[in-house]
């Protein structure tokens, strides 16, 4: 079998390039904890309203005793509920997303808040939003003819201007215009 020496060198270079990328990804994932949303947690999407966690009163931003911020959101044709939330910048936020009907996806442009929302599963994303401002949450997976209209709003406010919401968070139904 004949392999040209130049080709051999290039093959080593290619393995080196791919190896470098794999190395960076593995170091980030294993040592810095940078991972895709992958919590493999099931939930009955047909009875979210009866579930403790995603009952209407529990949706939106909540802060527990230790100061951890969790945002529970329901995706359903055609919106993300609650329709508007306010969160602090520069703070670790844990989003927990469920679908009440079909497949959805959500991302906040210019941030790495992105996940698929698969019915039957809870999608969890932990991230920090560095820049205050008004952001949309956009549905990025085809979910039916009204898919274009599926979006809602997030206000990211500077940490010092943000106050934790009381026990009864927003109940949805707010106008998003």
């Amino acid at each position: 079998m004949h392999i040209d020496p130049l080709e051999k060198k290039w093959a080593y270079a290619a393995v080196g390039i791919a190896g470098l990328f794999v190395g960076i990804i593995l170091i980030d994932a294993l040592f810095h904890g940078i991972n895709a949303p992958s919590n493999v947690e099931t939930i009955d999407s047909a009875s979210l309203h009866l579930s403790e966690e995603f009952d209407e009163d529990n949706l939106g931003v909540q802060v527990d005793e230790s100061g951890t911020i969790t945002i529970r959101m329901v995706a359903g044709r055609y919106g993300f509920y609650p329709k508007h939330i306010t969160v602090p910048a520069d703070t670790s936020l844990t989003f927990r997303w469920v679908s009440m009907d079909v497949l959805h996806g959500v991302h906040m442009p210019m941030t790495n808040m992105s996940t698929m929302i698969v019915p039957g599963y809870v999608a969890q994303v932990t991230t920090t939003l560095p820049k205050p401002g008004e952001y949309p949450l956009l549905c990025n997976e085809y979910c039916g003819i009204g898919h274009d209209h599926m979006w809602s709003n997030v206000s990211v406010v500077a940490k010092e201007h943000w106050t934790a919401p009381g026990k009864a968070p927003s109940k949805g139904g707010q106008d998003n215009d």
Partner: protein, 539 residues
């Protein structure tokens, strides 16, 4: 010499492929116009999503499968110099696939299966769509069997001799497709069809997505391998030179085929139903499968350099200018490589586990796959068609100049279309929206890019029309053309080829092992953990 049966089979397959392609090109231009929102009169999400679903099925399933089958028959008979094994099976395969295409087209065009070509349960379309798509694949399985049998017969008749590289790649692709299509076949047969017919009340979308991910990556290589085959076995000869290395080409095809399969979870990076360890494993495999492309790029450019220097090119870059740029095959490979480099860069971003979050399901993704599929892959389908048509029809190509204009405009149109598409993704625009309804300042930045995309699409539509017109007019010519398919010779003749580079038996077992490793637990988990099914939804 191509025998009559092969010519007939090839023309039938290729015309179905390119007919579907042209129709889908018109839909593509309509879609880019509709989603821009610049012409309120044509705004209609229901027409748009019916069109997107049809465009996807025609381009990704019909164009590709029929093209690959037709080209495969030509490669098998001409490289092995033996007739088609069991032509009745070949015609049966063509019949089943064509019937499936029609069956799927009816609900698609009437808006009863606007579920996109990726299906997305629990949204369920009309059962005819799923049955039709299944038949399209079942017909192609007959082709796979014929390719594998022909290679086996040739090996029995020529013990110890290296299987011609063109056939090695084609039979490998047949094996790849059997493995690839199994995932989606399981999804359609056990989840979608029973659900669409009302035999089942719920299905698990997590399992459905996992099975589809099994298919979703290697299917791309099924489409790409004919292009790579042309790179290795047709291009060097057309450029006036030799293939740089036959053995390395075989090794590249083997790695491509084996590692295309166990890596589908890079489509599920953002999904909650699979754990991070599995995603990382598939992510590493994704980088392994980039290696044969690195190697192919090197080999093809080296082959071109040999040709350029044989034609009198001097200096570090002088050989590039002395290449026969007016040969459609040579022009195509140059343009294909340019698009592969850009598209490959985008692909590395997609493949990068964490970076993927920034572009997942944004406009970046269709920008990427149009560049690499409709760009690199389809431009080689054009080149192959321009090469085969005169030989098969026995008539000269209607217009070589038109072919060159067509290839350049396809490349230029693709650049104008996909560059803004990528940018829109970085600006946060989701893919698969039929219009911009978000009341957000962000969307103001999107408009100029939409305008550029419409123009790029228009250039490509014109190019597609030129392509089909040129082929159709070739049939009407009165002149006679005599030619044979000429496969490139390697600079160093292949002598002692190890059996693992001349046969797929070993690799088939390796694939089985890798698939069990990378998909075994991720599929079985759905049967061991407490899951909740979803009922069917309309759209």
């Amino acid at each position: 010499m191509i025998d009559v049966v092969t010519k007939k089979l090839a023309f039938c397959h290729l015309w179905v492929a390119f007919g579907a392609f042209l129709l889908a090109c018109f839909m593509g231009e309509y879609q880019v116009l509709e989603r821009s929102g610049f012409i309120p009169a044509i705004e209609s999400p229901s027409v748009y999503f019916a069109s997107v679903s049809t465009h996807g099925v025609l381009m990704a399933f019909v164009l590709t499968t029929f093209f690959i089958m037709g080209f495969g028959y030509v490669v098998a008979t001409t490289s092995l110099k033996q007739p088609i094994w069991n032509p009745q099976w070949a015609w049966a395969g063509f019949g089943i696939s064509s019937f499936g295409t029609v069956l799927a087209a009816i609900p698609l065009l009437t808006g009863k299966a606007s579920v996109l070509y990726t299906f997305y349960p629990p949204i369920i379309g009309h059962w005819m769509f799923y049955v039709g798509a299944t038949l399209l694949i079942v017909g192609s399985w007959l082709w796979c069997v014929i390719m594998i049998m022909m290679m086996r017969e040739w090996k029995q008749a020529n013990p110890g001799a290296p299987v011609p590289l063109a056939m090695f790649a084609t039979a490998g692709n047949a094996l790849l497709w059997l493995w690839t299509s199994a995932g989606v076949a399981l999804e359609v047969l056990f989840q979608l069809i029973p659900m669409a017919l009302g035999w089942m009340d719920t299905l698990d979308p997590g399992l459905a997505r996992t099975l589809f991910a099994w298919t979703l990556h290697p299917i791309v290589y099924f489409w790409l391998i004919p292009a790579y085959t042309a790179f290795y076995v047709l291009v060097p000869k057309q450029a006036g030179g030799y293939l740089f290395s036959d053995e390395i080409a075989r090794a590249a095809f083997v790695v491509l085929i084996v590692f295309a399969l166990p890596i589908g979870f890079h489509h599920l990076y953002m999904d909650p139903e699979q754990a991070k360890g599995w995603k990382l494993l598939h992510g590493v495999g994704t980088f392994v499968v980039s290696l044969p492309t690195f190697i192919t790029g090197f080999s093809v450019i080296a082959s071109l350099e040999i040709a350029g220097r044989l034609r009198g090119g001097k200096g570090l870059f002088g050989w590039i200018g002395s290449l026969p740029w007016r040969n459609p095959m040579v022009l195509s490979v140059i343009l294909a490589l340019l698009m592969l480099i850009l598209g490959g860069f985008g692909g590395l971003v997609n493949a990068s586990y964490a970076m993927n979050a920034m572009i997942h399901n944004t406009a970046w993704v269709p920008g990427h796959f149009h560049l690499i599929f409709a760009g690199t892959t389809v431009i080689m389908y054009f080149a192959i068609a321009y090469y085969l048509w005169p030989i098969m029809a026995g008539k000269p190509l209607f217009s070589k100049d038109m072919a060159l204009v067509q290839l350049w405009t396809w490349f230029i149109g693709m650049t104008i279309l996909t560059t803004p598409w990528h940018v829109l993704g970085l600006l946060g625009q989701p893919r698969r929206i039929s219009g911009v309804e978000y009341n957000s300042l962000l969307t103001l930045a999107w408009d100029p890019y939409e305008l550029a995309m419409i123009f790029g699409g228009l250039v490509m539509l014109g190019s597609a029309c030129l392509f089909v017109y040129n082929l159709a007019m070739t049939h009407r010519s009165q002149e006679v053309f005599e030619g044979e398919i000429e496969y490139a010779e390697p600079i160093h003749p292949v002598t002692d080829l190890p059996e693992y580079l001349n046969d797929f038996t070993l690799w088939n077992k390796v694939i089985a092992g890798l698939m069990a490793l990378s998909f075994g637990v991720p599929i079985l988990q759905f049967f061991f953990m407490k899951t909740f099914g979803s009922s069917a939804w309309g759209f």
